[in-house]
Amino acid sequence: MSSLDRRPARLFEGIDGIAVLLYVLIVLVGCLSITSASYDDTVGGGLFSFSHFYMKQAVWVAVAWTAAVAVLLLDERFYHMFAWPAYVAGIAMLVAALLFGREVNGAKAWFEFGSFRIQPVEFVKIATSLALARVMSAYSFSVNRPGHLLKVALVICLPLSIIVLQNDTGSGIVLGSFLFVLYREGLNKWLCVPILLIATLFIISFLLTPMTLLVLSIVVCTLCDAILNRAWKSRIIYLASLAFASIVLQAAAAYFAPGAMTLYHSLLTVTIASLIAVAVYAYRNTLNNTYIIISMFIGMMIFFPTTNYIFNSILKEHQQKRIESFLGIINDPRGIDYNVNQSKIAIGSGGFIGKGFMEGTQIRYGFVPERHTDFIFCTVGEEWGFVGTMLVLALFCLLILRLMRMGERQEEPFGRIYCYCVASILLFHVLVNVGMTIGLVPVMGIPLPLVSYGGSSLIAFTLLIFIAIRLDAATRQFSLNKF
């Protein structure tokens, strides 16, 4: 198996036609939508003036397709080698953007060259995918070995933390979607569960008051213990005595030092004090799982205040508001809810077949903000209706499944992991972007891949996908040439 054997007989042999077709269709949908969303007859210079967004986007499409051809021309081993330098360059770009970049919409994540801007985070997605594929395809790598898992976590968290520092949390969370890849590569199911559980708790902790949370955790933990040890009577007595003791404590506190303690504090004190008794009880009866439940409870007690701390001090005010708005804690259709509200109106008013190309009133008359970038899906929804949205979703779904399929047929883990990375990034983008336009997901400023206006995003996704196609093509050329 010398390298000479693997020289392509024809230049584009082995390229997955279906993936390329899906890619082209999605890009065309994007061009049409941008045209409709941004055409403004008051802008001078005629239909083909470059002051229109769609003409600029046409230029970006040309650049992107040139880049795609370039990607296909390179040998696939180049990407293997290129992974680490790309990763280092990506991190350097992020740091540079953080230090010298330009702030747009609150995120200091842009380089500006004359009249156009570049968002390095789009290219960091490629670099991180390559680096991750490189790390995880190493010989005898096992994702469940703590040392290896730490490596993976480092590769993901380094760019992620810089992106969060840039105040571009939405893009940062995209890298979290690599959990999808880790699962495919054999990450222990029981590691996935707590991660999802933490996310759920995070949301619950905003919706409930501390008192409810405390009572809920006590009841849930006692219940788990009762189920695991099949001992109900003593657990119920335990709960009752907790309640009684805390009321007595509260009454005493109210008598000696009025106002010093609320019922919440009494209950917390009594419960923590009782944990010692519980631990002794567990030790005497050799109930091992009770220890786990005690630590789970303590974990919860630490976790809830931490989420509040994260929420209040790490997230910016507009991010807090978006989450609160999404969870229904605040309702303000003219303020923070305006975008989502208008976007739902635009999509909802499209009906079954939509209002027709360039006929969408909500889009054309500017009711939907960011209509050619993050909220581009509204154009599809309003002008092409349910038929259009289903078609676009179907294209994305097929592309993602196709990428997974391409991953599965790779001979080497590097290609497979990379393909899964691409699929997971695409999936996350589509879920969050489409989800936010229809009120399923809090608003995060991330684009709809290949459809939203923006050169960085289009070129980065093109590169991302075509590297996967190139890697796949190499495998197929090899298998074609072998027989």
Partner: protein
């Protein structure tokens, strides 16, 4: 490394997750695009703006086809703040051209700056001339909107025609067809016939963008409609008579009403002091309105239909009629009068005239004593047992003459007048009262209150010998064959026609032979009249005069009431007489009388 079988299983799980995520998105889209109908409606609310096009308000003509009220074009001056040329804008020139006060312009622009892209009204009621001048100057960001304003060619009938104002919040709340900025009739004919006069607004449905800027018409104007002008009305008023009436009543407080007895059409209705209807128009309306509202002479109070005056001697006609119908009085009955009526300590004074006298002469000379006898006989009629019972019967008669309740004319703010009830006296005198206690009612004094319209109606009843048509001000409505049915019905009093002859003769004698009304005589016109002088607690007597002419087939019945005018013959009579003369002969042959009336100085008249 992960082995192939495990990897394949995990791939299946991940495929399932991908499917689930897309199914979730698709399900949500299915719901908001196909199931939930709210969004389509919300989208229309977002983009569609209904622009109202105002109709011209209906005109009102007088009975001879002359304009009483016209609609004239005027313009609202609008501005879009964002489009203003704020550097090159010459405020002084703008104010000079449009005639807008500079502080109003500043306030208007401040309002406009609140929502810079939305057209805002800067000033209302720009005249056509101002608008044309404005158009020549090309101020960017400003434009005008067509509306109409009332115009009164004769400057008459302020209280009669009423005025038009902008709807307030209360009206909008109770009448959903009105929107802020609409006009509505606030009083008089404008209010009574608002539904007909207002016309129908047109609408233009426009598509606007998120800044409120108009982009396009909706569905090529399929839902647009043109404004429909209001219907015109023909009034029963004779504009020239009305003008003369207002001239004659100038400087006096009171009212004059003239009715055509054969139809109940109101020929003239003057309430004095009045105001120039032009004052309640346009830009100065608010200020003028407040000034008129606080004027001590209450020019906005339509005395002709709302005031409550004691009828005085004119009410003797009613007493004579009731007495005859009740059978307690025959025209030939004679009663003595020695400078008044005496019963025990009670004395009702009268002026000097021949005594004893019969009904005809008593009407002609307006003898107080005679009608005290008549009134006492009615109440003390043995048929009813007690004067209280007799009073109730008397009251029913009086009500049949249209007193004590609304006549049902087409004035919404018509007053009821007041005829006391038995219970009123029972309360006041704790049950112990008789005919002598309420004797002042016999000569139209005491607690009686009548509107000038009711008094004119009494003149009609006498002129018609026993019936009346409800007085009304509108005789024809564009596009309708008839006016309301109630105006075509005869209302009979409870007194038979034959009893009217002696009363009419008495009134004729009072004018033409010998009596209090001799000054009202017009050769060849057979005028009948009855003076009245009503005492009142506020000062000088009120002067009133009832009249109709000619005696047979009367063409005009008139009542004039002048507050503190003194004797009926000295103020009210000459005014009524001049009006009759002018209406029946189209000329005035007594310029000295005209001059006299115009020069009357009333001591209680509050100078403006």
């Amino acid at each position: 490394m992960i082995d192939n079988r495990e990897g394949l299983a995990r791939m299946r799980t991940l495929q399932l997750i991908v499917f689930c995520i897309f199914a979730l998105l698709a399900g949500r889209l299915f719901y908001i695009q196909l199931v939930d109908p709210r969004y389509g409606e919300l989208a229309r609310i977002n983009t569609l703006r209904r622009v109202v096009q105002y109709p011209a308000r209906g005109e009102v003509f007088d009975r001879n086809g002359e304009y009483l009220v016209q609609s004239r074009a005027c313009y609202d001056l609008m501005a879009v703040y964002k489009e203003l040329d704020r550097k090159g804008f010459d405020t002084a020139r703008f104010c000079a051209v449009t005639g807008i006060a500079i502080h109003r312009l500043r306030r208007g622009l401040a309002d406009a700056s609140v929502s810079p892209r939305v057209p805002t009204v800067i000033a209302k009621y720009l005249s056509k001339e101002d608008k044309l001048r404005f158009d020549e100057c090309n101020f960017t960001g400003f434009y005008t909107v067509y509306r109409t304003i009332r115009e009164y060619p004769r400057k008459i009938g302020g209280n009669l025609l009423g005025y038009v104002g902008e709807v307030n919040d209360n009206i909008v709340k109770n009448n959903p067809e009105y929107r802020p900025g609409d006009y509505i009739g606030m009083s008089g004919v404008e209010r009574s016939y608002e539904k007909l006069l207002k016309g129908r607004k047109g609408v233009k449905v426009q598509q606007v963008d998120n800044h409120g800027v108009v982009k396009d018409s909706y569905m090529n104007g399929r839902y647009d409609s043109l404004p429909e002008a209001g219907t015109y009305l023909v009034s029963t008023i004779d504009a020239r008579l009305q003008l003369l009436g207002e001239e004659l009543m100038r400087g006096k407080v009171g009212a004059a009403v003239a009715i055509e007895p054969a139809t109940g059409e109101i020929l003239m209705m003057v309430s004095s002091p009045s105001y120039d209807p032009d004052e309640l128009l346009g830009r100065e309306r608010g200020n003028n309105y407040m000034r008129l509202l606080h004027d001590k002479r209450h020019p906005l109070f339509n005395r002709a239909v709302m005031a409550r005056y004691p009828p005085g001697s004119t009410f003797k006609l009613v007493q004579g009629l009731i007495g005859q119908q009740e059978g307690v009085l025959k025209p030939s009955d004679r009663h003595p009068c020695n400078m008044g009526y005496r019963a025990g300590k009670l004395k009702m004074a009268c002026h000097s005239h021949a005594s004893p006298l019969d009904l005809r002469f008593a009407v002609a000379t307006s003898c107080n004593a005679y009608f005290c006898y008549v009134f006492r006989d009615i109440l003390e009629n043995p048929k009813y047992g007690s004067p209280k019972k007799g009073f109730e019967v008397w009251r029913e008669y009086v009500e049949s003459f249209g007193f004590g309740h609304k006549l049902g004319s087409d004035f919404l703010d018509e007053g009821t007048g007041y005829i006391p009830e038995r219970s009123f006296y029972d309360r006041r005198y704790r049950g112990s009262w008789n005919a002598l206690t309420v004797l002042s009612l016999s000569i139209g004094q005491g607690e009686l209150g009548c509107t000038p319209l009711q008094l004119a109606n009494l003149a009609c009843i006498v002129a018609n010998r026993g019936y009346y048509y409800i007085p009304h001000i509108i005789k024809k409505i564009e596009g309708c064959d008839s006016i309301d049915r109630r105006f075509y019905e005869r209302h009979y009093t409870k007194v038979d026609a034959k009893y009217f002859e002696p009363i009419v003769e008495g009134m004729w004698n009072g004018v033409n032979v010998a009596g209090t009304s001799w000054l009202a005589k017009l050769p060849g016109l057979d005028v009948c009249g009855k003076t009245g002088t009503a005492q009142n607690p506020d000062g000088r007597d009120h002067s009133t005069f009832l009249s109709f002419a000619p005696k047979d087939n009367p063409r005009i019945a008139i009542s004039v009431y002048v507050e503190h005018g003194g004797f009926g013959a000295s103020t009210a009579l000459p005014i009524a007489s001049l009006l009759e003369e002018y209406y029946l002969t189209d000329t005035i042959r007594r310029p000295e009388l005209l001059q006299y009336v115009k020069n009357i100085q009333l001591p209680n008249y509050v100078q403006p």
